[in-house]
Amino acid sequence: MSIKIALPKGRLLAETARRLQLADLGLAGYHPKTRFYRLTSERYPDLFAKIFHEKDIPIQVAVGNYDLGICGLDWVEELLAKYPSSALVKISDLGYGEGKLYMMASRAGGALMLKDAPAKMDTIRIASEYPNLAESFALSHRLRRFSVFPLWGGAEVYPPENAEMALVSRRKGEPLNNDLVPLSEIMGFSAFLIANRTSWEEKDLSEITSAIERAVLPPLAEETPPVKSVATPVPYPAGDTVRLALPDGHQQPPTRQLLDKAGIRVDDYPSASGNRRPTTSLAGVSIKVIRPQDMPLQVANGNFDLAITGRDWLREHVYQFPSSPAVELLDLKSGRVKIVAVVSQDLPVTDSRDLRQLSNGGESGLRVASEYVNIADKYARDNHLGRYRVVPTWGASEAFLPEDADLLIENTETGQTLARHKLKIIDNLFESTACLIGRKDGASSKKGEKIKAILEMLRDAVEEFK
């Protein structure tokens, strides 16, 4: 009887690895420097482990791909908020990786208090990486009209201009950004051992679970989380200020280079202190640093006039909202990747036609994993994949094949990572580069002249690159 366990990457990895070592499960391959996603146990021949992004673990356990999982309770509750009948059992609190979720509002935004919120006729915007918990909060607090922005990250930078509230997570000891005031503590969380309900009822998991539960260690001296930038309260941008979004993460260096070429001075970007509100030499322009994944939606809903993101994320947005006003204004020609359809090398599939046959043959339908759920959905529809389901992933998607998905829609630069994971490309969807996006009607607005000027500066810089 095999037992499968899903283990976290990221913030919980180091502490989880220490505990598992003490538990003596024989999973020596699970350590912070591991380059592998799949692990077998030297001690229990039937124990199999796979490493996932923490957010994917409750889903993988609930659908029965894994018997056991270790992840933060916050992500378990995020799943249960939307799908309360998920087949999940919370087995035990492992007592590390603690933190809290808060609903925050801007100090500068001021007067919005929760008890006034239900009476407000205006839409209350809530930004969060936890959209389901945010929606539950809004419903249970009887907010009359609300929008939830599901984010990939950086929720705390949205209030006050781009959202009235943000549901944010804070690790133990991590200070609250003093721009924001907590309106309500949503929940406390820590690492939890969870099980699939059917596995819990039908398999004997006790040897593994009690070994994990017994492995209690004094926690490592917690590295003090970096103090998030405490930017000075920002004045609300005047009505004709152009609001520009710049990407965080690995797109920062090429963006910085482009801005330099264009002669646009931006101070403290990329920021060592995590400042998400850099200042600029451009008059009448305000800048925020957010996730490129979140930009097209924020441009569409009018929160930003311009943003530097990838064509992949713009397509992902437009496939969800075909009449969206967000459009590509300029190809920045950097960060070139291909968006491809990928299967395991073991599968006798060479193109989308084979895929169709594979899909129609199966009882349960084809499992399509992707960070790009709408691109993946459109690909499946356009290729008439019959019965299929899209499994959303939050990174390390190549680890899903072949056990936990049949098809992957993924970006690749050289194809080497895919090959290393024994995967093969069966279809090219499109090519993606960094691009400047804006609203269709942007040029005709009262900010039109300024928008055009920035566009021209960037266009000249791109030409120069060539």
Partner: protein, 412 residues
């Protein structure tokens, strides 16, 4: 690959649709007789119509089908209609606000998630809304309309339970709870959790007992309400209103049960609430909701209404047994592989339809049992051979006109 229905969804077969059609037409006739006009609102509405306090309880809101529309980049969600009344109120505000009085009815499906998938997630209801007046007569008219429809449907043992949202609210106010606590407790009571009261602090005991008493008693007359009224002056207005409605119904010969705990599920009620059941099955309910239209941004317009639960009623109805054979139903036998004959068959069917007969071309092997006439089309004269299955007689006719004359004469 097996093709299955979605969990919690059901088909209505031809036999079930006959019952459903019967229900629809009796409900429609009942409403039309009282001067109500039919409306049909869209399946998709904005979520925010249903979210604010005073519309759906949080328990129901947690089970609506909400999603982002194809142009939902603002992040605001839309919903598959979870309730029949709120869309009609929205329609009234949209399109009829200047009309004042509106008497509207609808037959519609509503969508609420149910976990096991064994119950229906899509339900049908027939509802009537009387918008623009706050009169005892309006509430009584709606009760009578509902009862008349149930009577026409032949539903036996219908029980009418009366409650009053104003009574529950007045008591909650007196318990000294904060507005939020009141709202939570009211929601719990509306969701059928009367035990929620037991958790109140003992300090509230006097009021708590009055509330418990009111919620526990089930009486066939208004007498005990008069006693309660003497105990608690705040309850005077809502109780008087409930007594007036009950006594008018009583004077008209309708039985009822005063059951304050029976009003549940919808936060928007402000006045009399009524519930209809038979053999412990809830088959309908309604009540007064004077605050809903202003709350949704309309003018200060009072309203009340009810809905009958068509899924429940369908289980109680049997399909009408059809007349053994109908003289108006005809089967035409025309050889499918002979274009000339087939053409003649279709011409005959067309003129019979125009003359008011049901006529179908035989496609399978069997002839439906309930039809009286079979007409066979032949190669040579006489073109049409007629069989009267009821009287076991045969005729022939050379032309469509003569077929028709014969049928008119013999079918009388």
């Amino acid at each position: 690959m097996r093709v299955q229905r979605c969990k919690g969804m059901r088909d209505l077969s031809p036999a079930e649709m006959k019952v459903f059609g019967q229900l629809e037409s009796i409900f429609r006739d009942g409403c039309l007789k009282w001067g109500y006009e039919e409306v049909r609102t869209p399946t998709i509405e904005s979520l925010h119509l249903f979210t604010s306090t005073g519309t759906l309880t949080p328990g129901m809101l947690g089970r609506v089908y909400s999603f982002l529309d194809w142009d939902g980049w603002s992040g605001e969600r839309v919903v598959l209609r979870p309730d029949g009344t709120i869309p009609v109120a929205r329609f009234y505000i949209d399109s009829m606000a200047d009309k004042g009085l509106a008497k509207l009815f609808y037959i519609t499906n509503t969508f609420i998630f149910e976990e096991t998938g064994k119950e229906n997630r899509e339900k049908w209801q027939g509802g009537a809304e009387l918008i623009g007046v706050n009169l005892v007569a309006a509430d009584v008219e709606l009760v009578i309309l509902a009862l008349e429809v149930l009577q026409s449907l032949g539903i036996k043992g219908v029980e009418l339970r009366l409650s009053h949202a104003g009574v529950i609210r007045a008591l909650l106010t007196r318990l000294g709870l904060s507005p939020e606590e009141q709202a939570t407790l009211f929601d719990q009571i509306l969701e059928g959790n009367t035990r929620a009261l037991a958790r109140l602090k003992p300090g509230d005991s006097g009021q708590k007992e009055a509330l418990a008493l009111l919620l526990e008693r089930k009486e066939k007359s208004t007498r005990f309400l008069r006693e309660v009224k003497a105990l608690s002056p705040e309850l005077k207005r809502p109780l008087n209103n409930l007594i007036e409605v009950a006594e008018l119904l009583e004077a008209l010969g309708y039985d009822y049960l005063i059951d304050i705990a029976s009003g549940r599920g919808f936060e928007y009620y402000t006045g009399v609430i009524f519930q209809l059941s038979t053999g412990n099955k809830k088959i309908g309910g309604g009540g007064r909701y004077d605050a809903l239209i202003p709350l949704m941004g309309g003018k200060d317009v009072p309203a009340s209404g009810f809905a009958l639960y068509l899924n429940q009623l369908m289980k109680l109805l049997k399909p009408k047994t059809e007349a053994k054979t109908s003289g108006k139903k005809i089967l035409i036998k025309a050889k499918a592989d002979r274009p000339e004959i087939l053409k003649e068959g279709f011409r005959l069917a067309k003129s019979l339809h125009e003359a008011g007969y049901s006529a179908e071309i035989q496609l399978g092997d069997e002839a439906p049992a309930d039809l009286r006439w079979i007409i066979e089309i032949q190669d040579k004269a006489p073109r049409f051979m007629l069989t009267d299955r009821a009287k076991k007689r045969h005729f022939s006719a050379p032309s469509v006109a003569e077929v028709q004359q014969l049928l008119d004469k013999e079918s009388e």
